[in-house]
Amino acid sequence: MSARDKILASLRQSLEGTQPLANPFDASLVDKPWRYKPEERITRLKELMTAVHSEVHLTSSQAWPALVCKLLAERAINKLLVAPTTAHGKALANYCKNENSALKLLAYDRPIEEWKRELFDEVPASFTGTLAGIAATGTLVVQPSPAEPRLMSLVPPLHIALLKASQIYDNLYQAQQHWPKPMPSNLLLISGPSKTADIEQVLAYGAHGPKDLIVLLVDDA
């Protein structure tokens, strides 16, 4: 008998003659305590994300490319990993071109195996879109894709994420109602830069993932 059959047979034997319990799910318990007025959503998200060392900048759909360049310049960063095929990638590229920006835009346009060393050692920052935001917990929903692969929001020390205010949901339950179906190969909730409290419970940022997270919150209402 395979382990699979052994385990399943044993579990089935223990449940013989019993009925599965009814579904107890009660959406109000995870939804009601975490509802906000539209204007509160932005405030709450900003407050919670700031509390865990993220930077949140309110900006507009016109102004954000300039803000990206300014924030990077302030940090003396001259390279940025960005997906050239996305709308926000194009917008940023256009801006940089028009402004003759010194910022060098890098593309994640080949399999990781071909440039792993470079990604690990030579990419100081990345810029990605987000699927949504969650006010209750101060969270970004990020869906890695062929254009913006998994490691883009993970390996570079600085991650800049673009979030539209219209896509902020109250809570995880509500956000979940809008997730892609079927589930993509990878879906992420990101609620700040990487951190640890494993030594004496002292909080330290930049454990294994990005040391800094900047959220550009675009007011598109």
Partner: protein, 482 residues
């Protein structure tokens, strides 16, 4: 202050009592643990201040897990079928040996030399590191806490915070001696040192190992929570990802994870959510540029189906591994996690370990509790831990031959003499005349009570019975009145 660290290799579950004695003398450990647990307790409460919200959610969490258990075999099959469809390979293991063999096979097929691990308690259960090392494969922990204790050749002291028993000075000295780094007790510097060492290991690793917090049957999704990013690194940098998990981690659907996630992160760390929630439903797709080419899930039984067979003990499997029970446990707070000699310490460890290892290997675990109830009060999925401890005591003192046999190692503390004593106790207490004569004698002979009364007088003066029992005094008083 000297720290009398218990060497890992001497720690066995059978030695709980003597381990505890050693740990209790370690003032540094006592101080470190107390301050850490106090802080975790207050963080939890701050994150769930509204009693109604908290208690309603705990009830929901309990019902969601109970419902999942009530259809566990079906959910496991559904999970397997969906994961397989999506390209994730599912393996089943009855024992840790089988699980290790599965992992080793995958590693050898890839000719793997280096394995990087996200945090996984099931891999600790399997002693996976030791197993892989024996076969010439380096297995390195990447969770900061796990990394620290691996450097010190120890076992985790806490399921969420493996190195919580150490302070920054101790970690600084450890890094100085093992990694040849200049001494510092600055936590940021220590973390940055570990980060740069481990980054290179992520880069090189042939395989990444992770645990699973929730396995969603309906969508075939493995959900992992973490703060550090090592879980994401382990599951998306190396070309192969192997997730190992217990069979009880499966839930019906995605929405079930909403309350469970909230309960988990708030109970564990007082966080509304962890920095990362990583949902994996497939390996790298043809059009994707990164992510593991192979994803495997190993489903481990290792005694869980034994707990499952009894409906009271089945509740053990509600556990979502938040660690709140240990944070609130006065015993755990004092002796630390390593004294238990089991992978899972604290209250949950005391009720799950007997299933994983057999009662004969954990004979003192059910008894190492005052049944104060602090664990049951905070458990986010409402496992009646004190009731289960009591139940395990029952199994532990039963005759080894008594039917039905519920557990491996039943009757490991069976003693005909003790059973007889309790029978005597029962007789004494159910015969009023005998009881009254007994207490009468005890009060009259009270002055002859010996000054040493076994273990009691280790901590107490000898108890002196009163001159007259309440039976006598009440009788006299009430008769006088009427």
């Amino acid at each position: 202050m000297s720290s009398q660290r218990i060497p890992t290799l001497d720690v066995t579950a059978q030695k709980l009592k003597s381990n505890a004695r050693l740990s209790l003398k370690d003032q540094q450990l006592r101080t470190n643990m107390r301050s850490a647990m106090d802080s975790l307790i207050s963080k939890r409460l701050i994150s769930m201040p509204d009693e109604d919200e908290r208690e309603n959610l705990r009830e929901l969490g309990n019902k969601i897990k109970a419902r999942a258990l009530s259809q566990l075999p079906d959910l496991l099959e559904q999970l397997e079928s969906n994961l397989t469809k999506q390209g994730i390979q599912v393996h089943w293991a009855s024992t840790t040996e089988e699980a290790n063999a599965i992992v080793l096979n995958i590693a050898q097929a890839r000719n793997a030399k280096q394995v990087i691990k996200g945090k996984s308690m099931v891999s600790e259960e399997m002693a996976m590191n030791e197993h892989l090392t024996e076969h010439g494969i380096e297995a390195l922990e990447s969770d900061m806490g796990e990394y620290i204790i691996q450097l010190d050749n120890e076992k985790p002291t806490h399921i969420i915070m493996p190195a919580i028993h150490k302070n920054a000075q101790q970690v600084g000295k450890l890094f100085e001696s093992r990694l040849a780094l200049p001494y510092t007790d600055d936590v940021d510097s220590l973390i940055q040192s570990a980060r740069s060492i481990l980054r290179e290991k992520f880069f090189q690793a042939d395989i990444g190992i992770s645990g699973v917090n929730f396995a969603v049957a309906e969508t075939g999704t493995l959900l992992l929570v973490e703060n550090e990013g090592n879980g994401r690194m382990s599951t998306s940098v190396p070309p192969v990802h192997i997730a190992v998990t217990g069979i009880e981690k499966v839930v019906a659907n995605l929405q079930d994870t909403v309350p469970l996630l909230s309960l988990l992160t708030r109970s564990a760390l007082g966080q509304g959510i962890t920095t990362y929630v990583n949902m994996i439903s497939a390996p790298r797709q043809p059009d994707e540029l990164d992510g593991p080419e192979e994803v495997h899930l190993v489903l481990l039984d290792n005694g869980r189906s034994q707990a499952f067979a009894d409906s009271e003990l089945r509740q053990t499997l509600n556990c979502i591994r938040c660690g709140a029970c240990m944070n609130h446990c006065p015993v755990y707070t004092r002796i630390g996690g390593q004294a238990y000699g089991t992978v899972y310490p604290g209250p949950i460890g005391k009720i799950i370990s007997p299933h994983l290892l057999g009662l004969e290997n954990t004979p003192d675990h059910p008894s190492a509790s005052s049944l104060c109830g602090a664990c049951g009060e905070v458990c986010p999925v409402k496992i009646p831990i004190p009731a289960l401890l009591r139940r395990l005591r029952e199994e532990n003192v039963k005759s080894p031959k008594q039917q039905p046999q519920i557990m491996a190692g039943q009757g490991s503390r069976y003693s005909a003499k003790e059973r007889l004593l309790w029978k005597g106790w029962q007789y004494f207490n159910s015969q009023p005349l005998l009881y009254k004569t007994g207490t009468f004698l005890a009060t009259r002979l009270g002055k002859f009570t010996p000054n040493k009364l076994g273990p009691w007088t280790q901590n107490h003066s000898a108890p002196k019975p009163a001159k007259h029992s309440l039976h006598e005094l009440a009788k006299k008083h009430l008769e006088k009145k009427s």
